[in-house]
């Protein structure tokens, strides 16, 4: 298959003692080889848990309710969701992940060396020395000075930027096919952000991995991604390539987001904000989930949920505006 990852109508549920609530509703997308795929959306729109679900990292009370996730592993095409223990062979080796909070993402009581090597221990049978070599090499690759001594140090002794680099090192040390980066820069200050993103870009080249970049920051998308999916309230509302998203955004929400950003630039306009709130988990509108915030809503939007349709080559959108079948209603 030419795609590294294919997510097919994925559904994720919040299972409490007495209720099951669907947070993510049939999400589908593909990530191509060496492609970097962006997932953008406001916080709480379900992008992170989607990412988590790929590696079966969801923990109580979250679980994947339906769908498949096909991954083109060394062992051929596999459905990650149906895997049991075997998934561990994939984790960290073929798919790896970077998290939002470098500060808390590392175990505070082990040295950096331990934590880098750990991955190797799981997936290779190198001896300690080689592992160490590899670790050092990795650290240099992610641009860490004085790597030697840093190996012996503990997370709490290092800065966020450092830690994130280390996270990247850990993530890439097994040269995975796919790297999932969940808001890798959010917790860092701007200057560092840039460095990290550049780093990821160049590593992507040298390791030729695919990347799923999850963020709420369109800037990051612009910097790193080729293809983008816009999440809203647990659904993909628009999927297209970066260029088209910035210049021909179809979905009202997307354009809303863009205006919010672009208006940042010039002081003439006051900061644009999308009116209203993201529907909080639980209440799911009957029709289009964006309807109540949408300035171009039609009456049909109220009660009929729109489909995610291909409105032009490689450009999907979930909105009645682009659905002629919607017009006559």
């Amino acid at each position: 298959m030419e795609n590294i990852l294919e997510v097919k109508n994925l559904g994720i549920d919040l299972v409490t003692r007495d209720s099951i609530r669907r947070l993510i509703d049939d999400v589908s997308f593909e990530v191509g080889r060496k492609q970097s795929y962006g997932i953008v959306g406001e916080s709480g729109c379900g992008k992170s848990i989607t990412a988590m679900s790929i590696m079966q990292l969801l923990s109580y009370p979250l679980k994947t309710g339906k769908g498949e996730i096909f991954f083109d592993s060394d062992a051929g095409k596999v459905d990650l969701l149906s895997m049991k223990k075997e998934i561990r062979k994939i984790r960290g080796k073929e798919i790896s992940m970077i998290f939002q909070e470098p500060m808390t993402a590392l175990d505070p009581i082990f040295t950096i060396e331990d934590q880098i090597i750990e991955t190797l221990e799981f997936h290779t049978n190198l001896n300690k020395k080689d592992m160490r070599e590899l670790a050092l090499e990795m650290l240099n690759k992610v641009g860490i000075p004085r790597a030697e001594q840093l190996l012996g140090e503990y997370p709490h002794q290092l800065s966020g930027g450092m830690l994130q680099r280390i996270m990247i090192a850990i993530a890439l040390i097994c040269r995975p096919k796919l790297l999932i980066a969940d808001e890798p820069t959010t917790a860092l200050d701007v200057t560092i952000q840039a460095q990290i993103l550049d780093l990821m870009n160049e590593l992507k080249e040298s390791f030729d991995t695919s990347i799923i970049m999850i963020t709420h920051d369109l800037g990051v998308i612009a910097e790193t991604c080729e293809k983008v999916a816009v999440f809203y309230a647990g659904q993909i509302v628009e999927e297209t390539d970066v260029v088209r998203m910035f210049h021909g955004a179809a979905h009202p929400y997307t354009s809303g987001l863009l205006r919010a950003v672009t208006s940042l630039g010039d002081k003439s306009k006051s900061l644009y904000t999308i009116p209203g709130m993201v529907p909080v988990g639980g209440y799911i509108p009957k029709g289009c989930r964006f309807e109540d915030r949408c300035d171009r809503a039609k009456k049909i939007c109220k009660n009929n949920p729109p489909e995610l349709l291909e409105i032009e080559e490689g450009h999907k959108c979930r909105c009645w505006l682009y659905n002629e079948s919607g017009d006559e209603k």
Partner: protein
């Protein structure tokens, strides 16, 4: 680190002085005195006067205290009013016994408590968890003296067994010593294990909720690694603290078990001394127990730096 230890040991001094003062004064408050205890019905003013002179109880308080403390710091706790026995060596002899009992109990409690705790943490909110927790709680909720009596009764009635009478030191006859010590150790251990289990469970759960566990999983770690290498090691601090506390409190707190199984331990010694108002013995015992207790705490604190690099005493 060293300076820290020194500081702590110095910090010990006021504590010990405080304790010695407390204990000394409390003893004065406690009704009844060693002499009435000694003479009982035979008491008459003449005898009392004699003994007060003999024990120096006719001296003013501050002087009594000073005489005692000034000797005590030189490791001379004086002689028992009642048995005229030298106190310090006696305390040491007793301490060895109690220490052995305590350690055995602690080990048993960990062997039971930690695995169960982890188990119920992993199986959180399942029936396994429920059962384990209830078992643990049973351990906590049966008074030692009841379970001990039951055990003794069961052994003697059903199996016609009772441990050898007359304590024997470990190095004199290990097997006999073990026969004597194991029962009380089990009783104490099981009752401790309950709280160990609870603590393990809650702190492991605590850790399992943290971000880095996701990272570890994302690396492809097996649950075994996640639990034992990361979760347990991170959750260790509260567990160690708890065990430390329990060991400390057992030093004198094993009284009940010591009494039922006739173990000549420190707790029993202190209790007898309290009941008999044998002032120098009580003072000696409590002071010593306190000293060891604080030492145990110090060790616990140092252990922290082991398990958690973030803690360091600079």
């Amino acid at each position: 680190m060293w300076s820290y230890i020194i500081k702590r040991l110095l910090g010990l001094i006021p504590v010990l002085i405080g304790i010695s003062l407390c204990i000394f004064l409390v003893l004065q408050l406690i009704p009844g005195d060693v002499i009435s205890g000694l003479l009982g019905i035979e008491e008459n003013p003449e005898l009392r006067a004699q003994l007060e002179k003999k024990f120096g109880l006719d001296q003013p308080l501050y002087k009594q205290y000073w005489d005692w403390i000034s000797k005590a710091v030189r490791g001379n706790f004086g002689r028992s009013f009642r048995t005229d026995n030298e106190i310090f060596p006696e305390i040491i002899a007793r301490f060895k016994i109690t220490a052995q009992l305590t350690v055995m109990a602690a080990v048993i409690s960990c062997l039971i408590g930690i695995p169960l705790g982890i188990l119920s943490a992993i199986k959180r909110n399942t029936w396994v968890d429920g059962i384990v927790r209830i078992i643990a709680l049973l351990g906590v909720s049966v008074p030692n003296f009841a379970s001990a009596t039951l055990l003794v009764l069961f052994l003697s009635l059903v199996l016609n067994y009772y441990p050898p009478v007359g304590y024997v030191g470990f190095f004199n006859n290990a097997s006999v010593n073990m026969k004597i010590m194991i029962l009380p150790a089990i009783i104490l251990g099981t009752s401790m294990s309950g709280s160990v289990m609870r603590m393990t469970r809650s702190s492991v759960l605590e850790v399992l909720r943290q971000d880095f566990i996701k990272t570890v999983r994302a690396k492809g770690a097996s649950e075994k690694i996640v639990i034992f290498k990361h979760a347990l090691k991170n959750g260790l601090i509260p567990i160690i603290t708890l065990i430390g506390m329990q060991i400390g409190s057992l030093l004198g707190g094993a009284v009940v078990a010591e009494q039922i199984f006739s173990i000549p331990g420190l707790g029993l010694m202190t209790l007898t001394a309290i009941n008999q108002r044998d002032y120098p013995v009580v003072q000696g015992c409590v002071l010593f127990i306190a000293f060891v207790y604080v030492l145990v705490n110090l060790i616990v604190d140092i252990l922290y730096t082991y398990v958690d690099p973030r803690i360091s005493y600079k």
